[in-house]
Amino acid sequence: MQQVNKKVILIGNFGVGKTSLVRRFVHQKFSDEYLTTLGVKIDKKLVELNETSVNMLIWDVAGEVSQTKVPTSYYLGAHGIIYVFDSTRPSTFQNVTDDLEYVQKLLPKAPVCLVGNKKDLVPEEDLNKIGEQLQREVDFFTSALTGENVEKMFHYIALKMIE
């Protein structure tokens, strides 16, 4: 089987569950200490697709996207973008369009996966409403708590990146 290395950035407002999602997906756990200084936490996970195994280096970038205090260079060279919002907090998906525009300008070729997290806290019909509200289709509603759709979501971005 062929193996490829890919860098994925995980972005979105504070508290939406980015770190929790990675923790769900990547079972090994590293010290979070350096995160505060560096503003990024990096984990990796090998995703096996049909003929390719995708070695994903996931950069969990702290801070808001457009007014970020972390170096822009953290985004550079990424092959995939996962934008996470908190389905219970509209303030976290208000800026989806602008934020994604900003990041996609830096990474015009990278596929995007839009994720509404904390699915477990929101009734199904409300989730549909969020989908209608946004100008862009939500690719997955996930729960880092129950694990629902987490694996699926990461497989999806892995697949998109090798297409």
């Binding site: 290395n5 010290s31 350096y34 200084t37 560096l38 550079l76």
Partner: protein, 280 residues
């Protein structure tokens, strides 16, 4: 040269009294800062640099830059290029010295702290850092600049998570280079405990060499020479060789490197000494 110095001095005192005062004041402040930094270094070790570095660096550098232009511009019509050059040199030296002071404090705390957590989080205990003075190249990574992904590696210790180390190293590098945005420079080495990571930058990728033991300036030069040679030979073609091929090449370059370099370094030092001896 002496005459030139004298001329500059006189011109300065005649024409540039204000600037001189400014400069003296600046120097005084720097001295003050230096003593303060040194005095408080121990207790403030954890956060001093982080808090003060950006402010100090900016203020000091701006002020120097500003007075540099004023001074040079005022003098140039009178004295021409030679003076301009020598004044610029002086300022460059001064700036360098200040940078040195600031960098020392900055890197000392932050990098070390970052490193301890990242290294301890990542390493699987396989990397044996030798507690001897002999320099040894433990790991070599060729890493893509932006993505932080590995292009090729050579490893003595079979570190399991080379990918992760390469990514973290890239993040640390970005972070530090970003913190010194005004400068065009690159981070060129990180020290931690008994090892040192030497970074050699190219446009699309950089090479990180993890060396343990005492890395003298001479050995560092030899390592860099080797890396440059490797890069020219194997990385500069339009079509990059496969990762496997590159790994093989890297191994060829660095497998027997330690014994050679340790001998080389001693003989180089010796020849330096001889040269001086004869000259005197």
């Amino acid at each position: 040269m002496n005459q030139e110095d004298e001329i500059i001095k006189q011109l300065k005192s005649i024409l540039m009294e204000d600037e001189l005062k400014k400069q003296e004041e600046l120097m005084r402040q720097i001295e003050l800062l230096k003593t303060q930094l040194n005095k408080n270094q121990n207790e403030l070790r954890d956060n001093l640099a982080e808090l003060t570095q950006p402010v100090i660096s900016k203020t000091v550098q701006n002020e120097i830059r500003q007075s540099q232009d004023t001074l040079v511009d005022a003098l140039q019509p009178l004295m021409g290029k030679m003076v301009r050059k020598s004044i610029q040199d002086e300022f460059a030296k001064l700036t360098e010295r200040i940078d040195g002071e600031i960098d020392k404090t900055f890197s000392w705390n932050n990098i070390k702290q970052m490193f301890i957590s990242f290294w301890e989080g990542v390493k699987k205990g396989d990397l044996v850092l030798k507690n001897i003075n002999q320099m040894s190249v433990e790991e070599v990574y060729v890493i893509e600049q932006d993505s932080g992904l590995i292009i090729a590696t050579y490893s003595k210790g079979n570190i399991i998570d080379q990918d992760l180390i390469a990514s973290m190293l890239t993040a640390i590098k970005s972070f530090i280079e970003d913190a010194f945005k005004q400068k065009t420079g690159h981070l060129d080495s990180i020290e931690y405990d008994n090892f040192r990571i030497i970074l050699q930058n190219y446009t699309k990728y950089y090479v990180a060499i993890v060396a343990s033991g005492t890395v003298s300036a001479t050995s560092k030069d030899l390592i860099i020479e080797k890396v440059i040679d490797f890069a020219q030979r194997h990385l500069s073609q339009s079509e990059r060789p496969s990762e496997d091929r590159l790994n093989t090449y890297l191994a060829k370059y660095f497998e027997n490197f330690d014994s050679n370099i340790n001998i080389d370094a001693t003989s180089k030092q010796k020849s330096n000494f001889d040269w001086k001896f004869w000259r005197w």
